[in-house]
């Protein structure tokens, strides 16, 4: 085969890949725009809007996401081995999605959104799965919102929040420590989790030394939702 012929073949292959990628990008742009809206509604929790209002909106948006991930899966199932070829095109958006889902889940239930639960919410499954690293990175982003959240809850008079958030972050941190992280992005994110933990510790400390923290509510594992 001549050099020209080979490069001509490559051109065709690469153009096909380019087209596929264009289709992926179209979906990802919609995901991105949905998460942007979700993030904007999420920011209302810092304004201490009623949780029910925030959660309701959230659920509708999750439905939109689910449909978008269905379309993404459809495109990629045509070429099963290439999942990771295009993975970069949607991973950062998916990490944000995870962080939003997990934060809302924590607000609602006080517990951590598990990997399988996250997959369920997005209608993903074994074939078109949620990458575990993306899930973990998403959890780190979640923790980044915590310090602001506890500060704002205290401002809104919810003095019990720091203790609960600290408990949750401490557990999450302990869980993360079980992982053997390489010197990569996840590791760096995990380091930021440590800072969030430290900051929440300080907020709780500020409450506690002033006897503002509510020590007695230890039987109550739920969260703001209950108050």
């Amino acid at each position: 085969m001549s050099m020209e012929k080979q490069f001509e073949d490559f051109r065709i292959q690469l153009e096909e890949a380019g087209n596929l990628r264009e289709r992926i990008r179209a979906v990802v742009m919609e995901i991105e725009s949905t998460t942007r809206l979700m993030y904007a509604s999420f920011l209302l929790v810092h304004q201490s809007r009623p949780l029910s209002e925030v959660l309701e909106k959230h659920k509708t948006q999750v439905d939109t996401l689910k449909e978008l991930y269905r379309r993404l899966a459809e495109i990629l199932c045509a070429c099963p081995g290439d999942y990771y070829r295009y993975h970069n095109d949607w991973r950062s958006e998916t990490q944000t999605v995870v962080s939003l889902l997990a934060f809302m889940h924590w607000l609602e239930t006080g517990s951590l959104l598990m990997h399988t639960e996250a997959q369920e919410k997005l209608g993903l499954n074994e074939e078109f799965a949620l990458d575990i690293e993306d899930y973990l990175i998403g959890l780190c982003f979640l923790s980044n919102e915590m310090p602001r959240y506890v500060v704002n809850q205290v401002l809104a008079g919810n003095y019990d929040c720091p203790r609960k958030a600290l408990k949750f972050l401490t557990d999450l941190h302990a869980a993360f420590r079980m992982l053997n992280l390489r010197n990569d992005f996840l590791r760096k994110k995990f380091d930021s989790l440590k800072y969030d933990l430290k900051r929440v510790e300080e907020v709780y400390y500020d409450m506690k030394i002033r006897h503002l923290a509510d020590e007695d509510s230890t039987g109550d594992n739920g969260n703001q939702g209950q108050s």
Partner: protein, 252 residues
């Protein structure tokens, strides 16, 4: 009052169970990646040695040098590429690409370099992949170098061709140098068309700049020896063949 999850879920233990699964997953992945990175490094190092061997070429030892280089290349394939083959399958080809890509690129560079010196033509991706087939267990998806790594390897080839051309001119092999010149120009031109279609093309774009510099260096070297040769003819030398006899002459 929105939710009343059972309280036991809120202890650490449910997290621990899940995270120990994640930990296993990450450990396996990292260990595999480590092994692949190591294989890739070995491939790089030994492919570089093959390239170095080819540069030892001169007008009178071509056959001998190339034979050794080809044998070494074969050894790289059998000893190191085969380790990659064992590790990679299914989605790994793309998932772990960044771990093995440097080695594969360097291997492509070495293989195409040998082939060019032998035949003056570009070794195709299909041909390379065909040589890798025997390494794979027939029941599994065989390792195939992807287009991107192949093109990245070919892009580096021009740098070696440039070094080769400078050396060949010193050795008096003008025609060979001009052949390299044409060949490099062709590669550069063909890649110009493909680069914008490649994903992650920032790497490739810097390589294209380097490549153009290499091509220009080759052209300038050819130009410089060309005008000297022409002057020689103008000076009316009776024996044009004695021009540029190459360095060995000095030893006479």
């Amino acid at each position: 009052n929105i939710s009343k999850r059972p309280r036991t879920m809120c202890t650490e233990s449910y997290m621990k169970d899940a995270f120990s699964k994640y930990a296993d997953y990450l450990n396996d992945l990292n260990e595999k990646r480590e092994r692949i990175v190591k294989a890739s490094r070995d491939i790089t190092m030994n492919s570089k040695k093959v390239i170095f061997q080819v540069h030892r070429i001169s007008s009178d030892n071509k056959e001998e040098v190339l034979k050794k280089a080809e044998a070494d290349l074969e050894a790289v394939k059998d000893q190191y590429i085969s380790r990659l083959v064992k590790e990679l399958q299914g989605t790994d080809f793309w998932k772990l690409r960044r771990a093995y890509s440097p080695g594969v690129q360097e291997y492509v560079e070495a293989a195409t370099f040998c082939k060019f010196c032998r035949t003056g033509a570009l070794l195709n991706l299909e041909e390379i992949n065909a040589t890798l087939l025997p390494l794979s267990d027939p029941s599994m998806e065989p390792l195939q170098i992807n287009v991107l790594d192949y093109l990245l390897g070919v892009a580096d080839l021009t740098g070696e061709l440039m070094r080769l051309a400078i050396g060949r001119i010193s050795d008096g092999e003008l025609e060979f140098a001009e052949k390299i010149c044409r060949f490099s120009r062709d590669i550069y031109r063909e890649l110009t068309l493909l680069v914008p279609l490649m994903e992650d093309s920032t790497d490739m774009k810097t390589k294209m700049d380097t490549m153009l510099q290499s091509v220009v260096k080759i052209e300038n070297a050819c130009f410089s020896v060309h005008v000297r040769g022409s002057e020689y003819n103008l000076l009316g030398s009776s024996d044009p063949s004695s021009f540029l006899l190459g360095v060995p002459n000095l030893e006479s």
